[in-house]
Amino acid sequence: MFDSGIAASAFVSGLKNEIDIALPISNKTYIEWLNALEQLLYTEFIREQCKIILANETEIDIESVTVPAEENNIRFEDIYTVFVDDVQLMKSTIVNPDIFVGIYYKQGKKLCVKTETVPEEIIIYYFVKPALKTVNASDVIQTGNVMLPYEFIDIVGAKLRGEAYKLANEDANAAKWLNDYNALLESFKAWALSRQSKFGM
């Protein structure tokens, strides 16, 4: 995962000093925008893969799987592929386990696998996302850095400024910053695309 090295609290504090609006916007709101942006960028563009190995289970409560502290919980939709004892499973639907083996599918919030034999280990490859940043009851931002490459930190600034001005009905400023955000996002997409692997899944 990328880490800009800039604390989310310091970043939001700097932005709040700079944004010129009368309407007070809570830290919680800024952090929600920041979280949403980070999750979007990691899910759609960065798509960094991680793997986790689990013991012999056929139904896994995927959101409860323990991941490193800096990562967000895994959702079924974050799963890239699943291997069982060196056999790659195909993603399928809940309709198919009675017909096919060698598949995985979603049932409620669970990841279920259907294999010919009882699996010894299940290897899940998933797209990693940074842990959600939080604020406490007093609206103080808790620890956590902005988890993006430092050279693209302006994306976050543009997005948060745009959202703040939009909330304050300052449409001209909102449009300016959101246009800037869209332009930076295009650059970021090209940057991420040029760094994708060129071989295999």
Binding site: T81, V87, Q88, L89, M90, G102, F199, G200, M201
Partner: protein, 112 residues
């Protein structure tokens, strides 16, 4: 060329799940059998087998694998040109094995 080598060649062109690859590989071998199955000694070494794992051994004669790669790429949707290449390469390979097998043999005069 082993099954793993074929998988690598296909993966160089497009990402593919293993199960999809095995199905396309076996389909390609069936197509070859449809084309040249009357002359099995120029297609297989031993009996045909269904491939289910990267560590499996294919019994298709090794030179056919470049043609099979093209057919798999066609089946993954990478364009009609791969189908043409599959047919062209498979035929060239078949002729090569046939010629190699015919070396030193006399063709009987059938009298026409």
């Amino acid at each position: 060329m082993t099954i793993k080598d074929v998988f690598e060649k296909v993966s160089l062109e497009t990402p593919i799940e293993q199960r999809r690859f095995f199905n396309y590989y076996n389909d390609s071998v069936s197509e070859l059998e449809g084309l040249y199955g009357n002359d099995k000694k120029n297609l297989f070494k031993g009996e045909p087998v269904i491939v289910k794992s990267l560590s499996d051994e294919s019994t298709v004669l090794p030179l056919y694998n470049t043609a099979i790669v093209d057919n798999i790429l066609f089946l993954t949707g990478l364009g009609e040109s791969h189908k043409g290449e599959f047919i062209r390469k498979a035929h060239a390979v078949y002729l090569k094995y046939w010629k190699d097998g015919a070396k030193g043999k006399q063709v009987k005069n059938l009298g026409w």
